[in-house]
Structure formats: structure tokens, C-alpha cells
Amino acid sequence: MNDPGLKDIWVYLSASPLLGLTITLVAYGLAYRLYLRTNSNPLANPVVTSVAMLIGLLLLTDTSYNDYFEGGQFVHFLLGPATVALAVPLYQQFSRLRQLWMPVTISLLCGVVIAAGSSIWLARIFGGSFEIQMSLAPKSATAPVAMGISEKIGGLPSLTAVLVVITGITGAVLGTKLFEWIRVKDDTAKGIAMGVAAHGIGTARAFQVSNQMGAFSGLAMALSAFATAVLVPWLVDWMQALF
């Protein structure tokens, strides 16, 4: 009677958000330590390692994603206030931004159209279904925005959330190397490109390079969320009619 047994403890834990939340933070903590160990090598991006650890753990214990998300949602929820918080670094870069508003506007519009247009087009020529094309279209926008757009244009919102994260990781991992190859040195240009292509995960990486790159990346992420929401449904109609 006073021996609850492992099974009862497991039944309690799997029904409570405590476990999902705790393992998310522990996995990220370990992944972040590993990242620092490798001297912030972008290949050891903490999102990749923690997601891999968590998926492995959930598969091993036969836990469903929905059960995990009972706890994970508390972390996921903070994406909202974190988006609002981007106003602060943005405001701190205000004078630089005012100087650069023209180039920023032009590159943002180009970037948003290229991001959505190229993913639809590439998915199509490599034989992806309509659902996949539409789930990929908003992949460069930040998660909550991309999910809303995906739903509107006929994609699968939850698949889009995953593609958004993979896109962000890809951008964060490749970004600094790519900029080196094409010889772009300005932190402002690097930041804008990172924010447009790789939203919040790219922005997190950009803040590690410099405060200015982070602020411009955050700005690009916020403005391209706007631009994606307005332009992508229209771009999809247009591409459907044309091809």
C-alpha cells in the first residue's frame, strides 16, 4: 500500500504538464552547454540538439507529442511576449534604422517574395504535393504568423510549424558562412537577410554575432511577418493563375 510503484508514478507524470516542461528546459540546458563547449559552433545549434534529444526520449518512452505539448506549451507560449519584446532592440537601433529605411524596405520586399515564391516553385518542380507547397510557402515567417498563413492558403499549420523551425535552423547554421562566401560584411545587411530568411532562430544566432546584427534581424523578422501575411496569399493566387 505504501509502495506506489514506478508505474503509478509514471501514470501521474505523463498526465501532468510538469514532465514535458521540465524535460524541455533540461534538454535545452544540456544542448546549450554543449553549444558553448564547441565554442558556439553553429553546427551545434542548441535547437537541433535539444529537439533531437527530446524526440529520442519521447519515442523511447512511447509518449505522444500531444502529451509532451501539455508541458511544452508553456515555453511555446512565450513566443508571443518575445515577439513584443523585439520592440526594445529595435528602438535602440532607431537612428541607424532611420538612415537605412530605403534599403531596408527594398530588401525586405525582395526577400519576402523570394522566400515564398522560391519555396513554392522548388517544391513544385521536385514533385511536392499542393499541401506541401502551401505548407512551405510561409516557412521564413515566425511560427505563429506562418501557421496562420498556411491555414489560409491550404497548407497544414502544424506541419508548417515544423518547417518553420527547420528553416530557422538551416539559416542559423549556414548564415555566417554564406555571408563570408558572398562577401557581405555589414552587420545591417547580414541581420536583415538572417531575419527575413530565418526569423527568430536566425535572430537568436544574429544576437551572438553582434547586437546590431541581432536588432536588424529582429526588425526584419517583425516586418517580414507583416509583409508575408499581406503578400503571400496574393502571391499564391498569382502563381496558381500563371503556371
Binding site: V51, V75, A87, P89, R205, G214
Partner: protein, 126 residues
């Protein structure tokens, strides 16, 4: 207390953003509108209150953590991704590279063409 005040303010802006977006039926996410409103507030005020700065630094310093639960969602889509892994992988990878390269080059070129002459004086003072 600073952190608590700051986070409360961020949530208030998000809430107002979400409500406004729904009332007006605009296709913009609530948090993005909240960010714009907070930016305008800081601009009018002329400085960032310490509480907001503390909360914002705290949240943004581990921004990647917040994407982890969505990333784990991959496991719910394994079969779908396995079925169409080729178009997904190629489209995602190439499109991300093209977007990043094109945007960085456009930004660098337009900055040189449009701003360099007028910015030169400004940068000398920095």
C-alpha cells in the same frame, strides 16, 4: 519586481494587439501588432523603462529555447515528411540559401547606392 513589471507590460501589449487584430479583422498576428505599438510607445516616450528592458533582455537572450516545443512537433509529421522528403528538403534548403544570399546582396547594394553619400557624415561622428 522589475522583471515582473516588464513582463506584465509585454503581455498587456500582446493582449491589446490580439484584441485589435480580431476586432479589425486584419491578417497580421497579434504579437506583431503589439510589438509595433510598443515601439511607437518607446519612440514617443524617448527612452526604454528599465523594467521593459530587463524583461526583454531576459526573453530574447534565450529566444531559441522558445522554438523547441514546435520543433519536437516534427515527430507528429514523420510519415508525411518521409513520403515527400525530397521536395521538402530541396525546396527548404535551396530556398533558404537563395533568400539569404539575395536579401543580403540587395541590402548591401542598395545601402551603397542610396545611403553611402548621405551617411558618410553621420558615420564620421559615431
Amino acid at each position: 519586481m522589475q522583471f515582473l513589471n516588464g513582463i506584465t507590460l509585454l503581455l498587456v501589449y500582446q493582449l491589446v494587439g490580439e484584441v485589435t487584430v480580431r476586432l479589425l479583422g486584419v491578417p497580421i498576428p497579434g504579437p506583431v501588432l503589439g510589438m509595433v505599438m510598443l515601439f511607437i510607445t518607446l519612440w514617443i516616450r524617448g527612452s526604454t523603462p528599465e523594467s521593459v528592458e530587463t524583461a526583454s533582455t531576459g526573453l530574447l537572450s534565450h529566444l531559441s529555447l522558445l522554438f523547441v516545443p514546435a520543433g519536437v512537433g516534427m515527430m507528429a509529421h514523420f510519415s508525411r515528411i518521409a513520403d515527400e522528403w525530397l521536395p521538402i528538403t530541396l525546396a527548404l534548403l535551396l530556398s533558404t540559401i537563395i533568400t539569404m544570399v539575395a536579401t543580403a546582396l540587395v541590402m548591401q547594394l542598395t545601402t551603397r547606392w542610396l545611403v553611402v553619400s548621405s551617411a558618410k557624415e553621420g558615420q564620421d561622428h559615431e
